[in-house]
Every structure is written in C-alpha cells, then in structure tokens.
C-alpha cells in the first residue's frame, strides 16, 4: 500500500476547531490525512500528548490555537507557544524532522487557511516519508 501520512491535530475549541468546522460547512476540499482532537485551549496541549502521538505512529503533529491576543483564556496560546518552542528543540535533538511538528494560529473565520494548511502539511509529510520512530522502537522491547 502506498504511504498515506497521518496528521494528529490538536485544535482549540474557540478558534481553530471552529475554523476547521467552517472549512467543512463551506464544503472545501482538503487532504483527508488529518485526525482532529478538540481541546479547550491550545494551552492544554501537554508535551506528553505530542510525544505520544509520535510514538503511536503519527507522521506529523499539528497544534492550532487562536491568534496571539485572541485567546479565549487570555494567554493560553502564549503558554502553548513557549512549550511548543521547547518541545520543538527536544524533538529536533531526538532526530525527528522539524517539519513534522507545527504550530499555527487559525481563527474561527479562517476555514480556507485551515484547508490550505492541511494540504501543505500533507505535502511536506509525503516528501519526508513515514516517521521512523516505530521502527526504532520495534527493536526496543526484548520482553517476550
């Protein structure tokens, strides 16, 4: 079977998820590779979520929140940005390509932008090929 990348996306309830919803209700066509998980705020996205997604086979992880200044909880998206920058550095050190992990701001009215983002990311992941974590982990457990 040919390689079809999987993107796990964490979208905030107030902006990004509504933006994705708008892409749907506007009947926009975009790549079906995304698996959306709705969270109340991008500030809710813990590094563990991102690492677990990679460990369980996601080829890319996308985190989307409200534009800076627009967070429903005032500063959740800033907290997300700070964590994201840190985990990006870690993920890079662990040999996972930087382009596999993205943070983007999507407002409730940006359905078009969301669709383009998913298309773009899918294209990048197609070029990168499947994530190699599981192959690395396969040799990891000796317990029968």
């Amino acid at each position: 079977m040919s390689y079809r990348p999987t993107i796990v996306a964490f979208l905030c309830n107030w902006c990004a998820y509504t933006g994705a919803d708008l892409a749907g209700t506007s009947r926009l066509h975009y790549a079906p590779n995304i698996r959306i998980i709705r969270v109340m705020c991008s500030g809710r996205v813990e590094p563990t979520f991102i690492l677990k997604a990679f460990q369980q086979g996601a080829d890319g992880v996308l985190v989307c929140g409200c534009h800076p200044g627009d967070c429903h909880y005032h500063e959740g998206n800033y907290k997300c940005l700070r964590r994201f920058k840190l985990i990006q550095k870690y993920v890079d050190q662990m040999g996972i390509e930087k382009d596999r992990l993205r943070l983007e701001w999507i407002s409730a009215s940006e359905g078009q932008q969301f669709a383009e983002l998913v298309n773009n990311m899918t294209k990048t992941l197609l070029l990168l090929g499947p994530v190699k974590i599981q192959r690395s982990l396969e040799v990891q457990h000796l317990k029968q």
């Binding site: 563990t48 800033y78 920058k85 840190l86 662990m94 690395s136 457990h141």
Partner: protein, 327 residues
C-alpha cells in the same frame, strides 16, 4: 528440610548489577550497622560485588528459591539480559533497584547514539586510541583451546522492565539507604507492601513539596543559567533564580539532598506518580515560566538551555516515551 523451631526462617537475598557503576551496591553497604540487621534476617545468596559466586551456581538454584532480588543497572548487553532472565526465574520478588534499572539511568544516555556510532568513537576516533587496522571486538573467537565468547553489545539500552517482569521499583541514583531498610522490612514482614508494579521507597509528591527553599507561585524566567554561571543565594528556589532544577518533574523521597547541598535537582528519582515521562513534564512546567510573548524572544530564552534532551532525560531516556534517538 523443615525446621519448625525457627519461627522466622531467614529469607534469601540476592543483589545483582547489570550495566551499572557499582554505586547501588555501595548504597546497600551504606545501610551501615543496619546491614547487620539485614544479614540477621537474610542469607545473601548472590552478590557479585561482595561474594564469589558464579553464574552457574545461580543457574543451578531452584526456581523461585530467592525471596528478594535487588537488580541494579540497566540492560546493555546479552549478559545483563541473560542474568535478568535467570534472576526473574529464581526470584519471588524482583526489584528494579536504582535509576538505571528503573528508567535506564546514566548508561541510558547511550540511546542518543547507535551501537555503530559508539564503536566508531571508542575503537577508532577517540584521542587515546591507536587502532590502524580498525579492529573491533568480536563476540566469538576461535583459539586452539576452544571458542572464546564475550557478550553481545546491544544497539539500545533497556530498562529492566523492558526485558523481564518487575515487581517493584526503587528509584534513585543511588537509592537512599534508609528507604532500602524500610522496603526490606516490608518484604520480610509482608506488611505494607503495595500492589505489584509500584514505585516503593519514595513519596507520592514531587521534590518541590519537600524542598525548603523560598518559593512563590509566580515564576518568571528571562534567561536560563547553568549552575556555574550564577551565584546561588542559597535560599531562593533555583528555578526562580533561572537555574534549571528538575524538582517539579521529580518524585520526592531522597530528602532533597542535592538542593540542601546547594545544587539543583537532577531528577534521579524519576517522574512523580501519574506521569510516565519526566522530560515532557519538565518541558510543560518550564514552558509556562518563560517570560516572553514574541516567538523571537522565546527562542532567545530557550537558546540558553543548551541541551534540553540530555538535561531533562538525564536518568530516564530508555524509559521515556520516545525511548531513544530516532535511527
């Protein structure tokens, strides 16, 4: 042999080291005069650092004949793996003793490299190596007396739990000896033993809860300092001074010894309960303390953390979510 005149027959105790530095074995000796109580209550049947007993003697023991085995060290090669399997079979209770057996420990940092990279460095590139023929160790070598064998060096370092079933985990590098006495007493008396798979000899809270340094809730960090770059005022929380301290992502139980000695916590007691990955926990916690809103400024502050992977996973890389650097 049944001897009903002895109400509490001595239990059989084994201590073994896998890929370890020997510090865990010394921590058993550090029980000082309590060691005599231990020896009173237990027969030491196997302890390579202190006694001359061969592997074949252990292999010849009956299954489940050892009451308690403290296995320290990670699993790095086929010899470690073999002994882990033998001791699992021979022991009623197998304890992963110390950070290496529990999470991979310092030897686990080798998971940032592959076996090939390590061999190349050690046998070809290191400054003190003179090896023009690029000779590498081979696992089997035939001489006229027979075949010589050395253990296979694995590509990965494993925690004990990734190789065999483990009953309990005692964290620490090394574990605090007082805690060992408590655990040991629980095993002999059978009182107060938690369910299988528990971390014992440590607390349910983080090190910060135990720490006596002055802390406020509002931690803001403009840049990070390595411990030698700043003069510690010896009373304010290290994180508030900008020095990375693993306290928020580390289980308490050591008595906050490092911080009491004016050195930041390095995280040897592993993640607190309900958290599997100390580094992720630490990134989550530190992320909120960074005092900047613009991506450029955040980048500048994060730039001052030189090696997040090595720092946050100093004792726990093989046991973490990603486990090793992706090959």
């Amino acid at each position: 042999m049944s001897d009903s005149s002895i109400p509490n027959p001595k239990i059989k105790l084994a201590v073994y080291w896998g890929s370890a530095c020997g510090g865990c074995c010394v921590s058993v000796l550090d029980t000082h005069e309590k060691l005599l109580d231990i020896v009173n209550a237990a027969d030491l049947v196997f302890w390579p650092i202190a006694m001359d007993i061969k592997y074949k003697d252990v292999e010849a023991m009956a299954d489940q004949s050892i009451d308690l085995t403290l296995f320290n060290g990670a699993v790095r090669n086929s010899e470690n793996k073999h002994m882990a399997e033998v001791l699992r079979k021979k022991s009623k209770v197998l304890v992963a003793y110390g950070a290496c057996a529990y999470m991979g420990g310092i030897p686990g940092l080798a998971n940032f490299h592959s076996r090939e990279e390590i061999f190349k460095r050690v046998y070809e590139e290191s400054e003190s190596t003179l090896n023009p023929d690029k000779v590498r160790p081979v696992e089997e070598f035939e001489v006229k007396e027979g075949v010589l064998k050395i253990p296979e060096f694995f590509n990965d370092v494993y925690t004990l739990n990734q190789v065999v079933d483990v009953d309990y985990f005692i964290p620490g590098c090394p574990p605090q000896s007082e805690r060992l006495v408590e655990v040991f007493t629980a095993v002999i008396t059978g009182i107060g033993l938690p369910p299988k798979g528990s971390v014992v000899g440590a607390l349910e809270k983080t090190n910060c809860d135990e720490c006596l340094r002055k802390k406020t809730d509002n931690k803001v960090i403009k840049r990070f300092y390595r411990p030698w770059e700043i003069e510690d005022d010896k009373e304010t929380c290290f994180l508030e001074q900008g020095v990375i301290c693993m306290g928020p992502a580390t289980r308490g139980g050591c008595g906050v010894r490092c911080v009491t000695g004016h050195s930041p916590c390095r995280g040897c007691y592993g993640p607190p309960p309900n958290s599997t990955d100390p580094g992720a926990k630490m990134m989550s916690s530190i992320g909120t303390m960074i005092d900047a809103d613009s991506p450029e400024e955040i980048d500048e502050i994060i730039e001052t953390i030189v090696d997040p992977a090595g720092l946050f996973y100093r004792f726990s890389l093989p046991g973490s979510i990603l486990g090793r650097k992706v090959l």
